[in-house]
């Protein structure tokens, strides 16, 4: 703009502004339609996700500093106590694992007798959750592993206690995870006690899942454990999802009101595990067990 015409913004007034706004808005609507209906926008979205990753990292710094100062100011006694507790837990877990090996071997033998296909093994890798807010009403988190680390869309994510959710969008270096408590998430589950199949919907509340469409006379009780089934789509079978906390019969309605609380610690987790199905039934994780199985029988 020439310096001699102060106050005259020739590019931003007049009818051209309305036209340009309209064109931008129309382009945005078109982009949305393409994004919703096709997979053409995957590449551009990956580029954008890489571009915003530094911002997400920067935003996560204060939380990381807090964590770090928490670690740095621990006393020796506290660390020793924690160490003792972890050793105890490890011992218990090891003891339980011994039994698990035997049971798994037995299960494999029985499945062989039934001519059933062996269970698909899974390998896991750890990802960290970035302390980043996405939207207060959607339950999503960002993790620091992406397509470059083998993360793919719809990949199942668990923590030490149960199913966390699945990858919604995978960028090259980060990924957005949809939690099971998101109102837009549903997963098929079965009751461990009797194999009753049902669907667990996210409620928008971190410590609650809704089990809809169960008739009033369905055999479900408070305390029942719900696990994923082989029909759970993206989730491998047998991982705990939630525990039933309330069953309310509604005589005037078609369905009972059943709520469950997620097994995973959705609000407190720092690290999560990414499950990758392995093509061969004998995965790296189960190979050692196979060896002991052969020796034992």
């Amino acid at each position: 703009m020439p310096a001699g015409t102060p106050g005259v913004h020739r590019v931003s007034t007049g009818p051209a502004l309305g036209l340009r706004t309209f064109l931008c808005a129309a382009a945005a609507v078109l982009l949305m339609l393409v994004d919703q209906r096709t997979t053409l926008t995957e590449k551009p979205r990956a580029v954008l996700m890489t571009l915003v990753y530094p911002i997400q990292e920067a935003v996560a710094v204060p939380a990381q500093l807090l964590d770090w100062s928490d670690d740095a100011t621990r006393t020796r006694a506290e660390l020793a106590r924690e160490n003792n507790r972890l050793k105890r837990e490890r011992l218990l877990a090891d003891a339980r694992l011994q039994q698990l090996n035997a049971i798994r071997a037995e299960n494999d033998r029985l499945r062989e007798m039934l001519d059933a296909r062996p269970r698909v093994g899974a390998s896991v890798r750890v990802a960290q959750i970035l302390e980043v807010d996405t939207d207060p009403f959607r339950h999503r988190v960002v993790i620091n592993k992406g397509g470059n680390d083998g993360v793919f869309e719809r990949q199942a994510i668990i923590d030490a206690n149960g199913v966390v959710g699945q990858v919604l969008r995978a960028g090259p270096v980060s990924a957005t995870v949809l939690l099971i408590s998101d109102p837009g998430h549903a997963v098929q589950v079965e009751v461990v006690r009797n194999g009753l199949r049902t669907v667990a919907f996210g409620s928008g509340d971190y410590d609650q899942l809704e089990i809809r469409f169960l008739p009033n006379n369905a055999d479900i009780e408070v305390g029942d454990l719900l696990v994923t089934t082989s029909l759970s789509g993206d989730y491998p079978a047998g991982y705990p999802v939630a525990e039933v906390v309330a069953v309310e019969q509604q005589p005037r309605q078609a369905f009972a009101r059943v709520t469950a609380s997620p097994a995973a610690a959705l609000t407190r987790m720092r690290e999560v595990l990414l499950l990758s199905p392995t093509a061969a039934p004998q995965s790296a994780a189960t190979e050692t067990e196979e060896a002991t199985d052969d020796g034992g029988t």
């Binding site: 309305g18 340009r20 982009l31 911002i55 939207d135």
Partner: protein, 162 residues
């Protein structure tokens, strides 16, 4: 007023900071009232630097915000572009309006933004209660004078804006 001492880098830098602020974790009770930082910065840029391709900045910021929040690509673009239209159109008049009135007008401009978000969330099946879209309008009006002062300082240096 955009003059020779006007610093061009302030707009993009402010937008990047605003993107960071929109991803900053807030305590649960505060999260629904998070100000729409990016929209506010764009309204400011629309009023005070309308010659600087504000619509293009709105499109770029919208795309980054979509990537940041995992929304359909274009959702924030549409909302931000429509939100910028009135400030751009009326920028000469808006510069003469006293601050308390611009606070109210900011709420009106960001209401357009929130309405588009509401509309698209409904259309894509991510609907939440309509009342939740009203909280940010109040916080937008409250943080507006602060933002105005900070950005004026950053853009024009120590010299006051008018």
């Amino acid at each position: 007023m955009a003059g020779p001492r006007d610093r061009a880098w302030v707009g993009p830098v402010a937008l990047i900071i605003a993107l960071g602020l929109s991803a900053q974790p807030l305590p649960g009770w505060m999260a629904p009232a998070r100000p729409d930082w990016v929209a506010l910065v764009l309204i400011y840029l629309g009023i005070h630097t309308p010659q600087r391709l504000v619509l293009v900045q709105a499109v770029v910021a919208g795309l980054l915000l979509d990537a940041l929040q995992g929304t359909p690509l274009g959702q924030h673009v549409l909302a931000l572009v429509l939100c910028c239209y009135l400030p751009l159109k009326l920028h000469l008049r808006l510069m003469l309006v006293p601050i308390w009135q611009t606070m109210l007008l900011t709420a009106v401009f960001t209401a357009i933004y929130q309405f588009v978000m509401f509309w698209i969330n409904g259309a894509t099946g991510n609907d939440i209660g309509a009342a939740f879209y009203l909280w940010p309008l109040a916080s937008n009006a409250i943080v507006w004078p602060l933002l105005l002062t900070l950005l004026d300082r950053a853009r024009l240096g120590r010299r006051s804006s008018d």
